[in-house]
Symmetry: C2
Subunit: 301 residues, 2 copies
Amino acid sequence: KPQIPKVDTESIVVYDMNEISASADAVRKKEEVLILTPIARFYPEYWKNLLKLTYPRNLITLGFIIPSTKDGTKVHRELRAAVQAVQKGPKHQRFADVKIMIQDTGLSSGQSEKQRHSLEVQKERRSKIAASRNTLLFSTLGPKTSWVLWLDSDIVETPQRLIEDMTSFDKDVLVANCYKRHNGNLIPYDFNSWVDSDHARNLAKGMGKDDILLEGYAELATYRLLMAHTYDNGDPRTLMELNGVGTTALMVKANVHRDGAVFPTFPFYHLIESEGFAKMASRLGYKVYGLPNYLVFHYDE
Amino acid sequence: KPQIPKVDTESIVVYDMNEISASADAVRKKEEVLILTPIARFYPEYWKNLLKLTYPRNLITLGFIIPSTKDGTKVHRELRAAVQAVQKGPKHQRFADVKIMIQDTGLSSGQSEKQRHSLEVQKERRSKIAASRNTLLFSTLGPKTSWVLWLDSDIVETPQRLIEDMTSFDKDVLVANCYKRHNGNLIPYDFNSWVDSDHARNLAKGMGKDDILLEGYAELATYRLLMAHTYDNGDPRTLMELNGVGTTALMVKANVHRDGAVFPTFPFYHLIESEGFAKMASRLGYKVYGLPNYLVFHYDE
Ligand SMILES: Nc1nc2c(ncn2[C@@H]2O[C@H](COP(=O)(O)OP(=O)(O)O)[C@@H](O)[C@H]2O)c(=O)[nH]1
Ligand SMILES: Nc1nc2c(ncn2[C@@H]2O[C@H](COP(=O)(O)OP(=O)(O)O)[C@@H](O)[C@H]2O)c(=O)[nH]1
Ligand SMILES: [Mn+2]
Ligand SMILES: [Mn+2]
């Protein structure tokens, strides 16, 4: 292989993309991780959990995208205060980089859980969140990023070794199982991680090109195998192959995005956003997996 | 609108994406342009032409992606010498930034024009070039880029005001008409810019999900209206709406990419690479245009 100097004069930079590794041995190989969070509401528990993660912070870059609404301004203030407390602290405890983007999406963030999840509203909502994710990704994915961890802003509890654990499987796309705690019970939360069914495939065949299939709606039963329902408190290293994923805690090799896997804002095989992303990744030749017994927790609303 | 400070402490950066303009008035609004070129061969004429462009260089960032082959090493040497001559020269003549990426695509660059264009070879070739374009885009698109100009490495002649002219139409996606000069004649070259036909749509309907429609192959006549054939030496500001585009000289508003329009490496509506990109942009809600009487010239091989 030819020897190539990495940096020339001031304004020429050379990157050898063949040198980026994303392996089961991420810490030892000093693999850079980009944690991406679209954030419409700041949960202190999200931030506390993030600070407990054990992956070396000098290898972590954080990227946030905030809606430019009145609520967004509040989020921005809270997030900045939280970030500054760390980034102005001792050098060895700082993140490598923190990028905050602000973007008008035209979504009102004042919706309740019920409103947000109504079938009609979901399509537009998730399409706009998909666009926010793409914008965030395009402005933060660096030429040396190895892994992208999509972590939703309402994920309030994960194992501390989340990054070490998820990278250790060496999978192109890998999603944790997202539950919520409610009155001491574990309740399945994220239904976007699933294995396709013949029934759903047939439903899709009969649909118009702009229709989408969404999970968790009685009026549109898909009979897909939902990862959320396969949790059995067994081996946390159990893997299952999936066709759809959620983004609550989703680890992606950066090269999957670089090859062109993004979050479709339009119906892609009748799927959008994270579910469409899983389909796109598989069209690009990548495999998609989930960890049914590896739990992360959504805020209980 | 809330007032937001742009930069905080060292490692927090805030970008307001609502402030990026991409308008008919690019120079006056100091809009940043990213020129992207996957480059398998260095043509001195390409570089000379690039240096003649009149758009302010302090607003231009150049991004190249080179295959990591033996030929690529030669390209890298030639390109670096060319870039350094400019970037070590007078400050006011330098480009804002130059990024060179090196990536193994597994494509052999030693193919002749005939070999490259054989139907079987094209699909894999263009799929790999699509992946290179996506990788290049993900590592160079900055949070302040307004426009992306895709300019192939074998484009040896364009109007000097290419950037001012193309941005002046204020279109989301706009492609010039690519010809070549041969023995004093003008010969149409790029057939990827077209208007769809019923015939092609019907062909596509009968195809398997991994089949693609390619332009310019007798065995697969599409009866599409090819922009290359509509040149009539008339008004260079004539616009036509298109369904497919080539990348020889393609101007894209950066927000189109940020929303998630990339170059499909897989058959997307039976289209790949630049033609698939046009389809993806239109699925994202953008319109795609061409300039039949605005010519750029491909190297005559
Ligand atoms: N930037 C941005 N992020 C948003 C917006 N709406 C939701 N989000 C974030 O997108 C992620 C998913 O949204 P969420 O409301 O949690 O979806 P659900 O839990 O699946 O209903 C969370 O991290 C939200 O904070 C928005 O309008 N703009
Ligand atoms: N990085 C990279 N660029 C390539 C490769 N093959 C072709 N290119 C570039 O991709 C663009 C389109 O390829 P080209 O061979 O001109 O295609 P054609 O003119 O349509 O046959 C040109 O700018 C090439 O220099 C490759 O293997 N790697
Ligand atoms: Mn949520
Ligand atoms: Mn060419």
